[in-house]
Amino acid sequence: MRKFWIDTDTASDDAVAILMALRTDDVDVLGISVVAGNVPAEQGSKNARYTAELCGKKTPVYMGATHPLMREPEWAYFFHGNDGMGNMNYPEASLPLQKENGVFAFIEAVRANPGEITLVTLGPLTNIALALRLAPDIAKKISMCYTMGGAAITLGNVTPAAEYNIYIDPEAAKIVFHSGIPLLMVGWEHCMGEANFSADEMKMMRSFNTKYADFTLDCNATAISTNQNWLSEPGLALPDPVTMAVALDPSICTERGSYYVDVETIGEATHGMTVVDKLGVTNKPANIEVCWKIDIQAWKNLLYERIK
């Protein structure tokens, strides 16, 4: 069994990503730590617990940081709905929230399984940054970290320069990127355009007639319309599930490279920008990997398989 840990600001696309991991037979999700991001951590933890329960799992869900390190939170209700789940107002799950703080639980899990845990981050990196400051040894004990965040080859979304997850807590991202953790940054560009699910594809998903397919489309109701109306994108974009797909099957990332990557934390127009030194002009050693290209059909097929 492959051991996973998921750190998430659980809203609609996070929920689908969690579902993908929980419905992968050879993956054991040891824990889910929730962070403030799309929605407050309390709402996110409700959404994560609902998702785990939907999948028939008792995965421990922990609440972590309720606030970015140095900045005020900026919720993404406009994108995901007031509950983060397309205003579906799902009932409270009976799966309890763990008492322990997610930051401590994550540190313990990594130390108990050195070299074994695949970390998938789907939200702002506050929890992981805090864990790395408390326990710097864990950077080398994580097998691989797949991070949904940043924008290496395209524009930002919440600002012209920045992708949401990094923008919300750029200081945390800076800590994580420079911590020595092996990390693949999967930017939001990989869910755009062709990687969107078209109206026909969504119709096909609905025809699976499973609770997982319905959940995927229902909880993303707000996200689907915002994606089309605000971003002028063709259909349903699922940034977190793309990253999860790459974590589950790294061959879905077909082009990647190691670079010096920094995060802008001071800029007046650019805070949260991920600055990738592709040409090596800074002469600084590579700190993380960047995903440049994914196999779009393979990504979609993986999602179809998990929701059938």
Binding site: H67, V103, L134
Partner: protein, 310 residues
Amino acid sequence: MPQKIIIDTDPGVDDTIAITTALRSPELEVLGLTSIFGNAITETTTQNALRLVELEGHDSIPVARGCEVPLLMELEGIASDVHGRDGMGNTNLPAPKGKAIEKSAAEFIIDTVRAYPGEVILAPVGPLTNIALALEIDPGIASLIKKIVLMGGTVSVTGNISPVAEANIYHDAHAADIVMQASCPVVMVGLDVTEQVIMTPQYFEELFKAENPATNLIKRILPVYQEYHDRFRGMGGSTHTHDPSAIAYLIDPDLFKTQSVPVFVETKGHCKGKTTADWHKQWESRVDTEVCMEVNSSGVLDLIKERLTK
């Protein structure tokens, strides 16, 4: 009932005077020491914290190891010229017997505050990284911490580590800015008062006459600290009284006069680590810090001498 405190510390010469004073004061119950970088690296200050609890038989007081680097900034300006490379005046003391507990400093702080809600005063006398981490990880503790009494900053006099910044704040300005926004009461014992409390060579001589383990250790480690004060401030063997003043505040707050004012911390550029009091509330709204502005110097000195020589 003695006041429960946790001392977050980077020992350090003046930390040593502060901690030995606290451990000898019946008004205070030291629940633990948490270590941090600053006067030396965290590895070293953790060892020194262990030495200090063992010095006079307080081995049962736990020492929790703190963060190794500032929250966001680079680690720089370790004060080996002030406190010696070992933080103990280059005296190369023997290794302590005990070990730091498993829990990190931030976790120890969170657990202890939650175990005694409303009862614990945090007394950080080093950079504020551990306190900030604890507040970030578990914001709920802010309403359970009785008070934070910190040594650091200056609002009315020049800095020490830079023209504008006091060293503890400078080492982790982001952490300090987080603490200055905490919703629990925060008391700042800064250079405004600590530089008014002067320990002279005569004062030290009187301390050393006691010849107990505390004063014997202080006597050994002091020369490097005195030399620094002479080299940079021309003090001829006298020193300022930084960390021990914060302990004096905990024992007898009436020795100080405070003013309530929001305090902001600069995190960038030349003025990094500068603490600015917004006296006329011209910047964005922020909770007040109680800033010590006046001190009864002889009262503080008498108190410390009484504790260290009894």
